[in-house]
Symmetry: C2
Subunit: 207 residues, 2 copies
């Protein structure tokens, strides 16, 4: 299909498509003339993935490129790729905040309670520690039962997520589903949580 049709099928404006092509986020189409190229379903799918990561996932184009390079690169093991991918998604393009170092002791205690294997230098471990420390710095009491209920929910969700990618042999598909499921899963969970909170606060605050 031509770029105009690609725009229709993907919902991405032509200027955006040209930008992604220039930036290398989208693979080139097959040249059919000096100023025309033919695109196929792989371009539609990739454009949808880019939109999902940027518009739904809220990732920066830099983070999106890094993720796509991870998917396209394919030079290391599935687990390493998946780990790198999830870590990129984890950063969400945001710098962690909170007191330096954070509460690693509590972070490790929560992980141990769930039986998680955590690399000591995992960015996720340090991000969790900093988030925990930030709660404290804002004067929010950190009730251990409340934290464990969050960790328990995370464990259940992760197991459900793994079933998405289980049985997939194609690395591209495995990582794409892992990324989309992880990024969109965050958005899905956040919106569900808001609906539940709004409903619960309404129940509790009605006179």
């Amino acid at each position: 299909m031509r770029i105009s049709e690609l725009s229709e099928h993907s919902g991405s404006p032509v200027p955006s498509i040209k930008y992604y092509l220039r930036e290398g986020l989208l693979h080139r189409g097959e040249r059919t003339s000096p100023n025309q190229a033919r695109y196929d379903g792989s371009h539609v799918r990739r454009l949808r993935l880019i939109r999902a990561l940027t518009e739904v996932g809220g990732l920066s184009l830099a983070d999106t490129r890094s993720l796509l390079e991870g998917i396209d690169g394919n030079s290391v093991s599935n687990h390493d790729l998946l780990g790198r991918t999830l870590m990129t998604v984890d950063s969400g393009g945001r710098e962690p905040a909170g007191p330096e170092g954070g509460d690693l002791e509590l972070a490790d205690a929560l992980a141990e309670q769930q039986g998680w294997f955590v690399y000591p230098d995992s960015p996720m471990r340090h991000r969790l520690a900093q988030i925990l420390a930030t709660f404290r710095s804002l004067g929010m009491e950190l009730d251990r039962d409340w934290l464990d209920s969050y960790a328990e929910a995370a464990e259940q969700l992760a197991q459900a997520d793994m079933q998405y990618v289980e049985g997939l042999t194609d690395v591209d598909e495995l990582l794409e589903k892992a990324v989309v499921g992880t990024v969109l899963g965050d958005s899905l969970l956040a919106s569900l949580r808001r609906l539940a909170q709004a409903s619960a606060s309404r129940d509790r605050q009605r006179p």
Copy 2:
């Protein structure tokens, strides 16, 4: 305290503090001379809240200002303020993506399953519908049991969150804890989910 001490206590650089003062995100200190003002604990606390919302929550300064206006405004009922606040946090400064309209039928079915009261024009309802439609547009099968497990987790988390704000009579404190708990709660849950996913994928992908 002087602005230099405020910077030390809050961990925010002096230029950032001056910017927040100019932008009205931080209330002015008590003038002690033409070019000096005295600040107190309320300024330290507000600066920490701003940092948490922007650095941990990843909110834009515009969204942060809107939230702080909601906290400071104080002109409507607690529930309305809480609803407005949670909706602002919900947007996360991101435009929803996915097919127009989205899958409202499925969104309502998930909410009904959990017994949530949802306003038909709730932005959260439409955002959920669009996220669900985006999963589909990316070729992710939407297993109903998987979705219900996410909604069930959201309900449990919302109930735990409500216990944070329960019994608070001061509106500022109620909203501050609701906002911090909601925004940081998203970050907390995301980091816990990444740790659980990384651990689970390692378990499953080891040869």
